[in-house]
């Protein structure tokens, strides 16, 4: 009996260790990024980071303003969300409420297939097919711009948005919908006035998770945005995102240089943004489950 108790305990601790590994890794990553980034705040200082020019390699001092990189990420992310959210919620409503069971059985796996496409393949498609189209349609000198990247990222965020919001919509209890139907509302009215509002926290979670995916995406933006670090919010201009900057420049920096530390500062900011988005998503999801 005592031995059984003992092994019970050890299994329990073993599982606790397995669970806390991910927590530990997140903490270590924060610690490591902070350690490499913090010296930049002491010298050359925070004001350097808030500048509007990112010119890390220069015969002058070099400037490390991450504002254009931040706006680049912001522009690409918001644009792709504008494209993917209405479409994604529509698809989720259809799959959850209207689709016949056999349709659902086909649609869901097909959509999840989208996540299986390697991002470099999507980027290549953007470079060779979508970029030239955008260039032609908008009569631009070049197809490498924020819009092209946003379209591709919208495709990538689509499955996340759909599957999370579909679960939220399906989670709305029948006890909420039946009274609406009993009072004479049509099924469509019930869907829009009762079910979707009740699923709103879950849909917010879906949007946050989709945004997190877009913010962290590197390969596609590296390939199709053109990587010009200019301060702009115009979708047809070339922009540079935070992720692409790290990917482009990390290979060349000497360890411990200002440039190296500035890249880590970008990393901290990026981690902060995705962490925040995930936090929003988790809170929204827990609110959703509590309310039902």
């Amino acid at each position: 009996m005592a031995r059984l108790f003992h092994s019970d305990r050890s299994v329990r601790y073993g599982l606790l260790f397995a669970t806390s590994t991910s927590l530990l890794i997140v903490a270590l990553i924060f610690l490591f990024l902070g350690k490499e980034a913090l010296p930049f705040l002491a010298n050359p200082g925070l004001t350097q980071l808030l500048g509007t020019r990112w010119i890390p390699v220069s015969f002058d001092a070099g400037s490390f303003g991450i504002v254009p990189l931040f706006t680049g990420t912001l522009l690409v992310t918001s644009l792709s969300l504008v494209l993917t959210v209405p479409l994604g919620i529509g698809a989720a409503v259809y799959i959850a409420e209207l689709a016949a069971p056999w349709e659902r059985r086909i649609l869901r796996p097909l959509m999840e297939l989208l996540t299986a496409i390697p991002t470099v393949v999507i980027g290549f498609f953007g470079l060779v097919v979508l970029g030239p189209w955008i260039k032609y349609l908008c009569a631009l000198p070049s197809g490498m711009n924020a819009l092209t990247a946003s379209l591709l990222l919208a495709v990538m965020a689509f499955p996340t948005v759909v599957s999370v919001s579909e679960e939220a919509i399906r989670g709305v209890p029948a006890a909420w919908k039946r009274p609406s139907l009993a009072l004479g509302a049509t099924p469509l009215q019930t869907t829009w006035r009762v079910t979707v509002p009740a699923a709103a926290p879950g849909i917010l979670a879906a949007v946050s998770l989709g945004a997190g995916r877009v913010v962290g995406e590197t390969m596609v933006v590296l390939m199709v945005t053109g990587n010009a670090a200019q301060l702009t919010l115009w979708p047809l201009k070339s922009v540079r995102t935070m992720t692409a900057t790290i990917a482009l420049e990390m290979g060349e920096v000497a360890l411990g240089s200002h440039h190296y530390r500035a890249l880590f500062c970008i990393g901290v900011l990026l981690l902060g943004v995705t962490f925040g988005l995930n936090l929003v998503a988790q809170r929204a999801l827990s609110r959703q489950t509590q309310s039902h």
Partner: protein, 312 residues
């Protein structure tokens, strides 16, 4: 043919070489290897040093994208006669190569620009003294779309375009078309060379599109009528008719000079530069043997065949 070219002690072993270098470089290498294998075989005989350890083990070369063709071909030829040496070649840009050499993750850095003061300083802090050798030369070709009617650009015009003062082809005698300015990213030695020689050390315009590889610049220029880019001479030559090389005049009104083997060798082409290898002291005997091979007549023959210009 293979049997005749290579002594039995020195088999070509194409399969060993296959995994290491990019496909494009390999194809090129295969062509040129065939052409100059007799020369290489001759040099093999001579360079069989008594100290066998020199021709054993692993040698990594990292750096300039401009040089990656050339270095891959050298590596192929070198490994063909020294099968126990494993030479791996990667690009990424001269800045990447210097960072790797300073951080101790590569044996040799291939660079299309001279080392910067701050890089030398960083190396000193890591207790590493770097020494350089010029192994070839290269001209920087300015390329535009084949349909672009502009036939000549002066250095001053080029500077105005890349600095952002001018942004329409009309301003340099072309059609009414916005100029799409393409550049390598800042890890490239060519980027810094261009910044120093053309921009007078000033910064690039901020809407210049920075691409991660030279091949991407060639690809993009061949697709965009309004695009302009700068690439190594060998890249421009390989691109053939898909891009147009614009001759450069050193001063407004002066005669335009086309980049070619002759003009780069004689030094009249304004955008010519030496290509170098850097190694850290104390010297690795393997690296020294490889560099000696590159500078040998056989090695310089490979330079000529691959579209670069010989060291002196």
């Amino acid at each position: 043919m293979w049997e005749a070219c290579f002594p039995s002690r020195c088999p070509p072993e194409p399969s060993r070489a296959a995994g290491r270098t990019p496909l494009r470089a390999r194809r090129l290498a295969a062509v040129c290897l065939f052409g100059c294998c007799s020369l290489v075989a001759a040099s093999c005989q001579r360079s069989h040093a008594p100290d066998a350890a020199v021709h054993e083990g692993r040698l990594t070369i990292k750096g300039s994208d401009t040089m990656v063709h050339l270095v891959s071909m050298w590596a192929e030829a070198y490994m063909a006669c020294h099968p126990d040496v494993d030479v791996s070649v990667t690009g990424g840009g001269s800045g990447t190569g210097f960072a790797a050499l300073i951080n101790g993750t590569t044996d040799v850095c291939a660079a299309s620009r001279a080392i910067l003061t701050r890089e030398r300083e960083a190396a000193r802090q890591q207790q590493r003294n770097l020494s350089e050798s010029v192994v070839a030369r290269d001209g920087l070709a300015i390329i535009v779309h084949p349909d672009n009617p502009v036939t000549v650009l002066s250095l001053a015009q080029l500077r105005a375009i890349y600095e952002g003062a001018w942004d329409n082809w009309q301003q340099v005698g072309g059609p009414d078309l916005p100029i799409v300015v393409l550049s390598r990213d800042s890890s490239s030695g060519t980027y810094l060379f261009f910044q120093e020689q053309v921009l007078g050390r000033r910064d690039f315009r901020r809407d210049a599109r920075l691409l991660a590889a030279t091949a991407a610049i060639v690809e993009d220029v061949s697709n965009d009528v309004g695009a302009i880019g700068y690439v190594g001479l060998a890249y421009a030559r390989d691109a053939g008719d898909t891009v147009k090389v614009v001759p450069i005049s050193p001063a407004p009104g002066a005669a335009a000079i086309e980049p070619s083997l002759e003009t780069v060798t004689s030094g009249v082409y304004p955008l010519a530069r030496p290509l170098r290898f850097y190694v850290a002291e104390p010297h690795d005997a393997r690296a020294d043997a490889f560099i000696a091979f590159c500078l040998s007549p056989a090695g310089q023959e490979i330079v000529r065949q691959s579209g670069y210009v010989v060291a002196d």
